[in-house]
Amino acid sequence: MNPVNPMLPEVFKIRRSAQNTEDVFTLELERKNGGGAGFPFKPGQFNMLYVFGVGEVPISISGDPTRPHSLVHTTRAVGTVTRTLCQLKPGDEMGVRGPFGTSWPVEEAEGNDIVIVTGGIGLAPLRPALYQMFARRERYGKIYLLYGARSPGDLLYMDEVGLWQHQYRIETRVTVDAARRDWKGNVGVVTHLVGKISIDPVHTMAFICGPEIMMRFTRVELTRIGVSPDRTFISMERNMKCAVGFCGHCQYGPHFICKDGPVFRFDRIQNIFGRREI
């Protein structure tokens, strides 16, 4: 990030692009002017991505923090900027500001069982946390990945998820909201999977990322199995224009999502989480 002017993007070049699902795509970026240090970041942090003349959007980083030479973003084509981003080709250029925000407490979580509950595109900001845990897999107990999506076709990174299960002993439970008969996996809400895992709740850390309603009911299920709010971390989303605490858009009660978040320890936002129109 520009140390003097945090509002100034740096130009990056698209190295690779891939369509993950009908409306989700992944871009792999590199600095236009080289840059040996790559792009160091912490899992859970985000960048502001700029498309020339169109605008800027906050997008979480979804690559491997232990391999910072490439910058990876997976996002959904949903607004003007992301729809344009989606059409960019390798070699095209775009602007990047970041990394911003807080991260999943991956190191603090060492020695614990880990429960990751995620829905839809919510897996993208959690993938870096998984990568970082894989690098030191022996330092963690069980790692559960509970992942829900709308349909089998909306599931992200499925090749990788299968690999993780075997290579890194990840207990994976995938579910979708509805499916055709050729789907042999679970159908149902992701929150329903929480009650079916076997962990030691006082030595467990839970990371949740997905739509707010899904995170809300995930907390209900975590309470049932004894995982306390201060051992639960969630990633929040709000409108953002500056990402550095100036524009005021991302305020959430006393917090700025851009600098106090996006990752929050749940007990710190518990009193406003789920309240309407905060």
């Binding site: 959904r76 949903v78 829905g119 839809g120 595109i121 829900g148 999506a149 709308r150 909306d154 579910t175 909201d177 509805a178 499916a179 055709r180 008969r181 789907w183 042999k184 996996g185 679970n186 159908v187 149902g188 809400v189 929150t191 329903h192 079916k196 997905g210 739509p211 309603i213 899904m214 009911f217």
Partner: protein, 156 residues
């Protein structure tokens, strides 16, 4: 399977957690062991709901047909789940199709037999009803969540 084994399986299943032992013994009288092969139909929509199933392991899919769109799986159930509540609600007809997705072992409970015992002993009836209501409430909540299409980010 021996009665003792059935009793042990029931006592360990979450659905019967902390149920009075006497009642469990009564229920075991209506229980039998069943196995469904992958792909095997367990029941079809409209058929009379004579049983419900305590799933020990495996996976069962609940399906609904929607004309030309073909069958849609609306929920799957697995280890620790209970399949079916239509046995308790008149006119005791299944509202879904159910088939085993993979080899599934379960304990079938005879609905007619249980209904009779509940009628004779309302306290047992209350115990069972509370458990079933809880189950239905959870399914209803899950259904509402699915209806909200929470991952469909786009505002139409």
């Amino acid at each position: 399977m021996e009665i003792d084994t059935l009793d042990r399986v029931l006592s360990q299943h979450p659905f019967f957690q902390s149920l009075d032992e006497g009642y469990r013994k009564l229920i075991v009288g209506c229980a039998s062991n069943v196995v469904f092969q992958a792909g095997e139909i367990i029941f079809r929509e409209g058929e009379s709901a004579d049983h419900f199933y305590i799933i020990r392991h495996g996976r069962v899919a609940l399906e609904m047909h929607n004309g030309g769109k073909g069958p849609i799986i609306v929920e799957t159930l697995g280890e620790g789940d209970v399949l079916g509540w239509s046995w308790l609600v008149p006119p005791y007809h299944w509202r879904f199709d159910a088939h085993a997705v993979e080899l599934t072992r379960a304990i079938a409970l005879d609905g007619q037999c249980l209904r009779k015992k509940c009628y004779e002993d309302h306290s047992l009836g209350y115990e069972l009803l509370m458990r079933i209501v809880n189950l239905i409430a959870e399914r209803l909540h899950a259904t509402r969540m699915q209806l909200m299409d929470v991952y469909g980010n786009v505002k139409h």
